[in-house]
Each structure stands twice: as C-alpha cells, then as structure tokens.
C-alpha cells in the first residue's frame, strides 16, 4: 500500500499546475495554495516545490521570470499555453478516474 505522500507525489505536477491556474505566483504562494486548498493536508517541504517547478519549466508547461521587488530579485511562475492545455487534460482525466473509483467504492444505495 502506498502512503499518501507517495500518491501525492504522483499527482504533484497536476496540483502545481492547478495552483497556477488563476495567474502568476511566487513559489511560496504556490505551496501555501496547495496547503490551504487541501485543508492543511498537503503540506510539502517548500524546498521540494522548486525542483518540481523547474522540471515543469523545462517541459515548457510553466514559465519562471525574475523580477525586482522589495530590494531583491524574486521569481514568479506562470502557466504557459501548453501548461493550460495540460491542466485541462489532467482535470478531465482525473474527473473520469475519480468517477469510476467512486462508482465502485460508493455504489448508489
């Protein structure tokens, strides 16, 4: 049986893309969005968000840009058009999967 952390890791890419769906965010805000949206259930070490964001950037799904704010350079991440496409595909796939699992685990009474 896989632990919840391992399952979460399998879905991290989609969750990160979803947390950027509403617009550009800093890395910390991405992590906070995951934590608050999941009711504090998904509380990842912040440092592991960045390697994942970087990988998504290499895959062309996320774009990171440096900007000057408050006297230091800060990095902002946003979805690319390919990232938006991937997110809607992942969302549809998840809805189908979740519906199928629910149909088995919670059959209508």
């Amino acid at each position: 049986m896989r632990t919840e952390a391992q399952v979460l890791k399998g879905h991290l890419d989609t969750l990160l893309l979803a947390s950027l769906a509403d617009g550009p965010r800093h890395g910390y805000a991405v992590k906070e969005a995951l934590r608050t949206s999941s009711g504090a259930r998904f509380d990842l070490p912040t440092g592991t968000i960045y390697p994942a964001l970087r990988r998504l950037e290499a895959a062309g799904l996320v774009r990171g840009t440096w900007s000057e704010a408050g006297g230091r350079r800060r990095r902002t991440y946003e979805l690319t058009p390919a990232g938006h496409q991937r997110l809607s595909r992942d969302r549809a796939a998840w809805r189908d999967f979740a519906a199928a699992v629910s149909a088995i685990l919670e059959p209508a009474l």
């Binding site: 800093h26 890395g27 910390y28 070490p45 912040t46 440092g47 592991t48 968000i49 960045y50 390697p51 994942a52 970087r54 990988r55 290499a58 990171g64 230091r72 350079r73 800060r74 990095r75």
Partner: protein, 190 residues
C-alpha cells in the same frame, strides 16, 4: 536577510547546485524566511522555522539532483539503449559482420568508446546527491550521437547487402540521433 543560518544555507545551495538553480532555491528559502518574519517571529526563530519548513539542504539539493534534466536524459538513453543494441546485434550477426572490411582496431575502439559512454550515463542516471554528476550526460550524449552516426555510416559503406534487419537497426540509430540532437541543447543550458 541577515540570519547566519539562512546565509549558510544559501552558501550550501551554491556549493551543491549550478548558480541559476541555487538562486531559484535561495529565493524560495528567503521568501519562506520573510514570511515567518512578517508573521511576527524574531530573526532567529524565523530562520529556524524557515529551514524546517523548507527542508534540509540534503533533501532539497537531492531533489534538484533527482529531477535534473541530465539525469532524466541519461535514464532515457539507458532504457532505450538495449533496444537499439539488440537491433544492431541481430543485424550484425545475420549479416555476418565479422566478414565486413572493418579494421579490428576500429571495432575495438568503437566498443571501448561505447562502454565508456554507457558508464558515464550510468553515473549520471543514478546520481542521488551530486548535481555535478548528472551533467556527465552533456559529455556522454554527443559521444552516443557520434557512435550512432558512425555505426550507420560504417554499415552503409561496408555491408554487402541492405537487409530489412539492418534497415531496422539503422532506423533505431537514426531515431536515437534525433532524440539526442533534440535533448542535448536543452541540457547545455542547465
């Protein structure tokens, strides 16, 4: 930013990771630290809370290493290598390649270079903590590319007949040439 704990951590990131990646991770750590400062913690407490929340240096640098593009490319090449190799093995055995006019030194040289490239890829593919090692792919990748080109050219020049199985092996090499040529420029920047 003035906490010694934070600046030590940032120094550690720069020692372990390429500059651009270290800068990105440092930005994240400092952002976490500032978040704790803003919520009222003192400098020391905020620094400790930030490091605890961010994850220790081993974990973070290790995660960057495991997700390094060089490591992923090396894994891809190692995973597909046996397929390309098997195609060539079948073509060479069926075509009785030992009768082709290829000097023994060239055969041995090809084998030795291939072995070295595979070893370098294996080191890059299995690196858990050293980001530097994942960059071996940028050295081994071009070697694999040249070996593929050499194999296709040597077969075209010396094989007595173009058989279907030889064509398959050449196609496998050409596919890998395309993959390597597409991937390498993306690794060079990272």
């Amino acid at each position: 930013m003035s906490s010694a704990l934070i600046s030590d951590y940032v120094d550690g990131l720069h020692r372990r990771l390429p500059a651009a990646i270290a800068a990105e991770a440092a930005d994240g750590l400092i952002e976490t630290y500032e978040h704790h400062l803003a919520s009222g913690a003192g400098e020391r407490a905020a620094a400790h809370a930030a490091v605890a929340e961010f994850g220790d240096l081993e974990t973070v640098a290790g995660e960057f290493t495991r997700q390094a593009p060089g490591r992923r490319a090396a894994r891809m090449l190692l995973a597909t290598g046996p397929v390309v190799g098997a195609c060539w093995a079948a073509a060479l055995v069926l075509g009785r390649a030992w009768t082709w006019p290829v000097p023994a030194a060239a055969r041995a040289g090809f084998g030795a270079v291939l072995l070295l490239a595979v070893l370098a890829l294996a080191v890059a593919a299995t690196s858990q903590r050293s980001y530097q090692r994942t960059r071996l792919t940028t050295a081994a990748g071009p070697v694999i590319l040249v070996l593929d080109v050499t194999a296709v050219a040597a077969a075209a020049l010396t094989a007595p007949a173009l058989t279907a199985v030889l064509g398959t092996a050449a196609a496998a090499s050409l596919a890998r040439i395309a993959f390597t040529a597409w991937t390498l420029p993306r690794l060079a920047a990272r």
